[in-house]
């Protein structure tokens, strides 16, 4: 397994804020052990946005859960690798300590804001909670802070709406409230797991804008997890494409989209309806994502891959960066040169 050795061009001299290396996560199920993450490596620096893209089951959410120590227990466990945050290996620390850290420095927002908010508490109470619990503020002060946050994330009439309950807000506003809670304690890293998937396009755009603005203000690092290649393109600088528990391609988002070097990335881009002229047939990737219990030998993508050869069926391709590629652009494919030439 080759580590992803290419740091992003934008990585600061101080080194990455979070560096995940060769991370392996396993789930034990009644049908056997599933390797949900198989040697995932990436880094994020302060002020930078990394998009982790992939289909359901590719391991993108598991990656976030693992960092946040939210893996379902006892089924899920870290089977190897490290998650180094500011010099601390979170993978080796007890869950309690990681959660402590996550409650202040690493924050996460989820896809469905309604199910992440408590329906029986006023939102002011919920947004004020981190201030009260973590910083020990009194109610008045904490609610004042909550009000500030609600204004900052663009809740109209925040003064009166702070006493409303979650159901009285629209989906987009709820996501704004979730973002308010996530940024309450000035996190250094924000992980957003499908933050706009449940929202209308117009609202989606506003939320992505909000996240980008907040990042510009605070200089936090962001990991955007999405299945939608379009949504993240405006905001993220780098992308990591995941498939069957591995990162199959990584690089600047522009390079990855314009010159996909992995057949899976290429296939994803070609699957988008706007990729083909109106009236023509879409060009999907054949087959379906593999069953993690019975992964194909060699490259997991080989049964769906138009470029597959005998080598692909036998040897797992490492993430590599052939000469002449843009810095940071790497793909886990034996035949990347041909894939690139084919475009």
């Amino acid at each position: 397994m080759v580590k992803q050795t290419a740091p992003a061009a934008s990585a600061s001299a101080a080194g990455p804020l979070l560096s995940v290396e060769n991370l392996k996560v396993e789930f034990s199920t009644s049908a056997g052990v599933i390797r949900a993450l198989d040697g995932v490596s990436f880094e994020v620096s302060a002020g930078e946005t990394l998009a982790i893209l992939g289909e359901s089951g590719s391991g993108k959410s598991v990656t976030a859960q693992t960092i946040m120590a939210l893996l379902p227990k006892p089924a899920g466990s870290i089977a190897g690798g490290s998650i180094v945050y500011k010099g601390r290996d979170l993978a080796a620390e007890p869950i309690k300590q990681v959660r402590e850290l996550c409650s202040t420095e690493i924050a996460m927002i989820f896809q469905d804001p309604l199910s992440s908010l408590n329906p029986v508490f006023q939102i002011g109470y919920q947004v004020a909670e981190p201030f009260r619990r973590r910083l020990g503020m009194g109610k008045k002060e904490a609610w004042g802070k909550a009000l500030e946050l609600l204004k900052r994330v663009g809740i109209p009439n925040a003064e009166s709406r702070i006493r409303d309950f979650p159901h009285q807000f629209s989906g987009g506003q709820r996501q704004r409230i979730m973002i308010a809670m996530a940024i309450a304690l000035d996190p250094k890293l924000l992980i957003a797991d499908e933050p706009t998937t449940a929202l209308d396009v117009t609202v989606q755009k506003q939320i992505m804008r909000l996240l980008a603005d907040l990042q510009a203000e605070t200089g936090m690092a962001m990991i955007l997890i999405s299945h939608d290649l379009g949504v993240v393109a405006d905001v993220a600088e780098r992308a990591a494409i995941m498939y069957a528990g591995r990162i199959v391609e990584t690089g600047t988002i522009r390079e990855v989209y314009d010159h996909p070097a992995h057949p899976y990335t290429k296939g994803l881009l070609e699957s988008i309806p706007s990729a083909v002229p109106i009236g023509e047939r879409l060009t999907p990737i054949v087959g379906s994502p593999p069953n993690l219990l019975a992964l194909p030998s060699g490259c997991s993508f080989n049964p769906r891959c138009p470029f597959a050869t005998a080598q692909c069926r036998n040897v797992v391709p490492p993430l590599r960066q052939p000469a002449g590629w843009q810095p940071g652009h790497a793909a886990a494919c034996h035949r990347s040169e041909e894939v690139l030439a084919h475009a």
Partner: protein, 274 residues
């Protein structure tokens, strides 16, 4: 496609309102108008798209057309028969010709039934569509048709991925050989690569069987790709309708324009001009 003489479905002046009830006695104290004065026709073999944001009334239109909601005004005619004024018994035959695929393949399939039973369920209700001795063979054919391995017929929905479950929903809808399928966000929950497969499948089925679709989606690129005609709904009112090509190239209404502008662009660096 040449214009046939009679539309398959004809919706006129459709109005749907949800009652607002008092908290204790549940008296009707008002109404929320979900959809008002919606007109459209669907011809055989045609795909009509409904777009709009959540709350615009897209799903209400779909549910009313298929008879899950009673309209408060207007008419819905399917092959000349008025659905709005039909008794449930009369509706049954219409429902065979009109099937629906829902957004969430996790919620819309009974978890206790095997794929075989799910697909065959409609045949229990609508006797005579497929003779019982043909059920197993027909289920196999349908599964193959939608790209599922027929060996999995005795599996349960939880054993399938989202894309596969949506294929089960499609097979289930096809089982009764309908003329119109209403797809309410039918591909929205699917991954991109799988979404394209399902869209191609819908396209193939239309070509082979002459199906008409009423296609509801918030994903405008899907609508643009698939639909012949498009209706844009905003707050229960059709703000613009026309051929897909015309509408996407020259949107007239401000709301339509705003909606189109918000569509995420995969490579924003390519068209900074727009």
């Amino acid at each position: 496609m040449p214009e046939p003489t009679a539309p398959l479905l004809s919706v006129k002046h459709l109005k749907v309102a949800y009652p607002v009830r008092s908290s204790i006695l549940l008296r009707r104290i008002g109404e929320n108008v979900a959809v008002s004065d919606v007109h459209f026709d669907i011809n055989p073999g045609e795909t009509v798209g409904l777009v709009g944001e959540s709350g615009s009334g897209k799903s209400t239109v779909a549910r009313t057309v298929i008879g899950l909601i009673r309209p408060d005004g207007g008419s819905i005619e399917f092959e000349g028969r008025d659905i709005a004024g039909s008794t449930p018994r009369q509706l049954r035959n219409v429902r065979r010709d009109m099937q629906m695929i829902f957004q969430d393949p996790y919620a819309s399939l009974n978890p206790r039934l095997t794929v075989r039973d799910l697909i065959a369920e409609g045949w229990l209700v609508h006797r005579g569509v497929v003779p019982r001795n043909r059920w197993t063979a027909e289920v196999q054919e349908l599964m193959e048709r939608v790209g599922l391995n027929p060996d999995y017929a005795s599996r349960y929905p939880h054993q399938f991925s989202g894309g596969q479950r949506q294929r089960i929903s499609i097979a289930r809808a096809l089982a009764l050989r309908p003329k119109l399928i209403i797809c309410d966000e039918a591909v929205s929950a699917l991954d991109v690569s799988v979404q394209a497969q399902v869209l191609n499948l819908l396209d193939d089925l239309q070509r082979d069987v002459g199906l008409a679709y009423l296609f509801i989606s918030h994903d405008l690129s899907v609508i643009e790709h698939l639909c012949d005609r498009v209706l844009v709904l905003n707050k229960g009112v059709v703000v613009e309708q026309g051929s897909a090509r015309e509408l996407f190239e020259h949107p007239k209404d401000e709301y339509t324009k705003a909606l189109f502008r918000a569509v995420p662009v995969v490579r924003p660096w390519l068209d900074s001009g727009s």
